[in-house]
């Protein structure tokens, strides 16, 4: 594990040093943003819709009795912004984006395409890693913002249709304990998740060995490790920022 962390640190440092090759990575950035962000919006929105519905229903089930029903809005808003929006989106994208990056770069490694780049003195990190990492850092918060908005919206509709709540009630709960830092916190987490998922995917893809089997193994490890990293980071930010 220590060796893995060391390799990850080395790759991160190499990625930072590759920023100077703007002409290499800038041409690929928009393409990676589309692959990592735009293509991930449907799965993120799908997860957010059902998360909002479940949150709303479970909140009403929990608050039956002494707690007023407008606290459904409080719970849906706070939970989507502080926890489920960034974390579920991060986990979904770690499976989709992290696996995709690891498989793509692993295949390039086992087919010696990366070696060919190095042979041609073309910076492989600036060409393969940096666009993906920057795209992840940019697009993870974007997808997370959309997921939070969709999740709150689906919870709102659920409260109106299934819980016999009114819009003023739900909005009162939504605004009751809202603080702008809630959104900042969500973006900090999403950005860090984007960085971790893409760098871990790149790390396992870059160090793939053993042909097709190695590619599959790297992909699996990338998903597992990035998911664990997301959960660890989630706790880290909660401890340090809240």
């Amino acid at each position: 594990m220590a060796a893995g962390v060391g390799r990850w640190g080395g790759l991160t440092a190499e990625t930072v040093r590759s920023v100077k090759h703007v002409d290499v990575w800038s041409r690929l950035l928009l393409q990676q943003m589309a692959k990592i962000g735009l293509d991930s919006v449907p799965i993120a929105v799908f997860i957010a819709v059902f998360t909002g519905i479940v949150l709303s229903l479970q909140a009403s089930y929990t608050f039956t009795g002494a707690v007023p029903l407008y606290f459904v809005g409080v719970l849906v808003g706070k939970t989507m912004m502080l926890e489920l929006g960034p974390v579920l989106t991060g986990l979904a994208l770690s499976g989709r984006v992290g696996a995709n990056i690891a498989a793509e770069l692993g295949t390039m490694r086992v087919t010696e395409q990366i070696d060919a780049l190095e042979t041609m003195a073309y910076p492989p990190v600036a060409y393969l890693v940096l666009p993906r990492v920057l795209a992840g850092i940019i697009m993870f918060p974007v997808v997370t913002a959309l997921a939070i908005a969709v999740g709150i919206g689906s919870g709102w509709i659920t409260a109106l249709q299934l819980l016999d709540m009114s819009t003023p009630e739900f909005v009162r709960g939504l605004t009751l304990f809202f603080e702008p830092f809630d959104v900042t916190f969500a973006f900090i987490k999403a950005t860090s998740f984007g960085f971790v998922v893409t760098t871990i995917g790149c790390l396992f893809g870059f160090h793939t060995r053993g042909g097709a089997e190695g590619v599959g193994k790297s992909t699996t490890q990338a998903v597992v490790v990035s998911s664990m990293a997301i959960l660890v980071l989630d706790a880290f930010w909660a401890v340090t920022l809240l």
Binding site: A34, L146, A149, T175, V183
Partner: protein, 329 residues
């Protein structure tokens, strides 16, 4: 990469930024197009109120709390809030922070100061800054209730210690005594009520008497007024003067009579003294009468002489010519 995908990437980013921006502003309570004014209030402390809490006037939300900061001196907390422009605040308005519900949400209400006569508000130096006060929250009230319950528990324990079986018996006997005293008091009250009725009758009669006396006095005074009016007083005074003169004459006569009576008494007293002396002489057997009283023979002779003298007088009355001889010339 075709331009459509590039546009979609841009669109997704723009949508996410717009959703985030407007969502945050909306959740913060920012109103678009409605002019607002920013005001401040100062507090000793602000409880659990936070930026974004509702500002209410007469129970209606008219704005939101924007910022909370401790004054540079550290003695006051300054709360900045925004309300709709054109709102007329109550005269001598104050801001009161209070829990909006039992679940930790607070509100800032604007009231006239007269609604809180017992509250001491901090007085801000600026004229347009409202004085404020934070009411205790549910936790403070609960802590106070906890103190009260502990005091009640101590009190209950002390009562339990003091209220032994002997105390209960004493209290029972005390209650019996009180019942007896109450019965006696009710009897006394009934008696006193009867007496009171009598006294009341007497008082009523006395009052009636006083009333009739007052009538008579009034009539008398009216007569006096009439008499005064008819000038009879002067003649009555003259009569009184004559009576007084007569009385003085009578007094003088009485004084003379009194003097004569005194002289007569003195004479009588002297006469009695003489008679006393004579009687003493007689009793001592001195003199003719003494001897007469003490000598039976002489008394008998005297009695016989008296009888003879009576006979003589009768004879003289019947036959005067025998003993008296009248001759003229």
């Amino acid at each position: 990469m075709n331009r459509t995908r590039e546009a979609l990437v841009g669109l997704v980013i723009v949508v996410a930024v717009l959703v985030t921006t407007f969502g945050v502003l909306w959740l913060q309570g920012v109103t678009w197009g409605e002019p607002q004014v920013e005001m401040e209030a100062v507090f000793d402390e602000v409880g659990l109120v936070r930026a974004g809490n509702a500002v209410k006037l007469r129970g209606v939300q008219v704005g939101r709390v924007r910022e909370i900061a401790v004054d540079p001196g550290g003695e006051l907390v300054r709360v900045t809030f925004r309300i709709g422009e054109g709102l007329t605040l109550p005269e001598d308005a104050v801001m009161v922070l209070s829990p909006e519900s039992l679940f930790g949400d607070w509100q800032a209400e604007i009231h006239p100061r007269t609604r809180f006569p017992r509250v001491t508000f901090p007085e801000p130096q600026e004229a347009d800054v409202l004085p404020g006060h934070a009411l205790p929250d549910i936790s403070q009230l609960t802590a106070a209730a906890d103190d009260i319950s502990e005091s009640m528990l101590v009190l209950t324990e002390r009562i339990g210690i003091a209220f032994s079986e002997e105390t209960a018996q004493n209290i029972a006997s005390l209650i019996d005594n009180i019942e007896g005293v109450t019965t006696q008091l009710s009897t006394l009250v009934e008696q006193q009520a009867a007496s009171f009725a009598e006294v009341t009758d007497d008082v009523r009669q006395a009052t009636q008497g006083i009333g009739s006396a007052a009538d008579q006095a009034r009539q008398t005074l009216e007569r006096v007024d009439e008499i005064i009016a008819r000038d009879e007083v002067e003649s009555a005074l003259q009569d009184l003067s004559a009576i007084a003169a007569n009385m003085r004459g009578v007094s003088a006569e009485l004084e003379g009579t009194n003097r004569e009576v005194r002289e007569m008494a003195e004479q009588v007293e002297a006469t009695f003294a003489k008679v006393q002396g004579m009687l003493e002489t007689v009793e001592s057997g001195e003199g003719s009468l003494g001897r007469l009283f003490h000598d039976p023979v002489m008394a008998e002779e005297l009695e016989g002489a008296v009888s003879e003298l009576q006979l003589l007088l009768e004879d003289i009355r019947e036959n005067p010519r025998r003993y008296v001889r009248l001759s003229i010339f």
